[in-house]
Amino acid sequence: MAIETATANGIPRKRSHSLLVAGLLLSLFVLLLCLVASMTSGAAEISIDKIVAALIAFNGSTDHLIIRTMRLPRSLIAMLVGAALAVAGALLQGLTRNPLADPAILGLESGAALAVVVAVFLFGASSLSAYAGFALLGTGVTAVLLYLLASLGRGGLTPLNLTIVGAALTYLAASLTTAILILSQQTLDEIRFWLAGSVAGRDFTLLFQVLPYIVVGFAVTFALGRQITTLNLGEDVAKSLGQRTAWVKATAALGVVLLVGSSVALAGPIVFIGLVVPHIVRFFIGVDYRWILPYAAVVGAILLLVADIAARLVIAPQELPVGVMTALVGAPFFIYLARSKVKR
């Protein structure tokens, strides 16, 4: 079977299965290289054979401890979060047929952050890991609000309505978050670092806590690839092809909520990964969501790993929150898209 793909000059080109599989394997290999780079670079340079030794034969030395307790969880979390956000962004763009959709721009991540801050404020906190459920809840509530308000705006669910409702929801959630942080100094100390959007200083307990949600999220969304491709042709077309569109949309939305909520619980709000990655992927492999979703996962993981390495090196020995790096790269891309893709 072959897949038709729009090329830059508009002529469809056949791209074979084997080529797509090869491409995916190649991206996975690049991901592995980035993972190694992420493990070696930092305040202490650690060689590759030491990394391997730390993973296979742990001997308790400082280097091995750094690898096992800091670099490994950090790199794994960056990969997972990048993959989750990229897949969520691809789904959002497919669902809303909106090239500007991104979990952060649409306010989902701020909603999740607000829910976590509220939970820490109300129930007191021993650690962030207890609150993954609240991040999911916050994402879900924000998604429902976003959908309702944007469809009430002029013209329905247009990119403009979604974007400005998202911006307003972000403002609202951010101001309430600030208010709570000011009211409770203890909450502030607990959460300030997390709020900046960073993958540093996370450990395996948090990762294992969130892992089930992410796995379910990936499973749900990957299973929907074919349906999303059809839906992307337009709701009417999808219906006439016999799709139960409401059911598909609801399931996909659930997948998005699971992915975004858990990645915010892991790393705080990280912007623009979900915007940029699907565009890159579509440019190379076209419009079939059965392939877009896995590619987006791998490319998202690569991008966030690279952004995290850059955040460690740019002003070394200090570190930047990785959210700053992604915003600096992603926001110009957003403006470019707004200029080229949005018709008046």
Binding site: I105, G153, G155, V165, L169, L172, L328, A331
Partner: protein, 348 residues
């Protein structure tokens, strides 16, 4: 047809204004409410003073307590005045912006102009910790101007596309915020905590020095905005109509935008990023006196001042003794109001 209007002409100069007949009454009412709110605001605090005593103290009359003059005149009055002036500046700026780009949802904070101003101010504070106070409005103005020029260049495209303008603004807002975080991460602890005040949008601890650094900007820009109101009316009808009415469209739009941006810069430099005042005030003003800018600009100016003073008061009363920055209050109220406007605006 002259019924609902009040026309003011000068015999000696070639100047005339046409106001809605209800404008003077509305202005007077707003002024009285504002004075009451300011008295309330000054009286509020760890050391409560009744509004009547506040008025007496300000007017220099004899009061029961010899401490009052210090508490009122030195500690609390400048703070309230800064809140008021910043509100006036932001409200006029929002009114002009909504008129110029013909979009009732425009707000300087939403399209990144506030963020640009605070980025410039924070950068200056972090790089030059010993910076004098009067330089901050200048640099904030520079930041706001840079963002607006960028928006104009990236989104204008022969006349206006409000959709694209807002989207580009949202993107620039994100960039400015990221750079501000970068600056804050970069900086020394001392200057960072000073810079964080800007980001929260608070009038905490403002002194007369702040009042004097903000006031000159308003003294120049507010009358200018008022003089330009008539041009704003014409521009609001669309470029073609404005041109056929004899407006030099590009020049006037440019001048109006510079005034708007300068007002944001000065306000943000002194009181931080207080969001959504520039959105709410003109809308409430329009409800009161209609869309003619000669009346709308002064009314929404007073409204903006009132909003920020009230927000400051609320922020101190709600969870006393802990104080919420007034920017948090305006955003918490303004964002839902913005969504309400968006939904109400949906007729085809």
């Amino acid at each position: 047809m002259n019924k609902g209007w009040l026309v003011i002409r000068s015999r000696h100069f070639r100047v005339s204004f046409r106001l809605e007949r209800r404008v003077p009454a509305v202005l007077l009412t707003l002024l009285l409410v504002t004075l009451a709110a300011m008295a309330l605001n000054v009286g509020q605090g760890e050391y409560p003073i009744s509004p009547l005593e506040v008025l007496k103290t300000i007017l220099g009359l004899e009061t029961d307590n010899p401490d009052y003059p210090f508490v009122v005149n030195t500690l609390r009055l400048p703070r309230t005045i800064v809140a008021y002036l910043a509100g006036v500046g932001l409200a006029i700026s929002g009114t002009i912006l909504q008129g110029v780009i013909r979009n009732p949802l425009a707000d300087p904070s939403l399209i990144g102009i506030n963020a640009g101003a605070s980025l410039a101010a924070v950068t200056l504070i972090v790089l030059v910790p010993s910076v004098p106070l009067f330089a901050l409005p200048l640099s904030a103005f520079g930041g706001a101007l840079a963002v607006s020029v960028l928006i104009y260049l990236l989104a204008w495209d022969k006349g206006s596309s409000p959709i694209r303008l807002i989207l580009v603004g949202v993107g620039l807002d994100a960039i400015s915020r990221a750079l501000t975080t970068l600056m804050v991460t970069f900086g020394e602890i001392n200057s960072v905590s000073q810079a964080l005040v800007w980001l929260a949008g608070s009038v905490y601890g403002r002194t007369w020095e702040h009042v004097w650094s903000l006031l000159p900007w308003l003294v120049v820009l507010v009358p200018l905005a008022f003089v330009l109101a008539k041009q704003l009316n014409a521009l609001n009808l669309g470029d073609d109509v404005a041109r056929s009415l004899g407006s030099q469209v590009e020049w006037q739009r440019g001048l109006l935008l510079v005034v708007s941006v300068a007002l944001v810069g000065a306000s943000v430099a002194t009181a931080g990023t207080i969001a959504f005042v520039g959105l709410i005030a003109p809308h409430l003003g329009r409800q009161l006196v209609g869309p003619t800018h000669e009346g709308l600009i002064p009314v929404s100016a007073l409204m903006g001042g009132l909003i920020v003073v009230l927000a400051d008061w609320l922020g101190r009363v709600l969870f006393a003794p802990i104080e919420l920055p007034c920017g948090v209050i305006t955003a918490a109220v303004g964002a839902p109001y913005f969504l309400y406007l968006l939904v109400r605006n949906r007729k085809p």
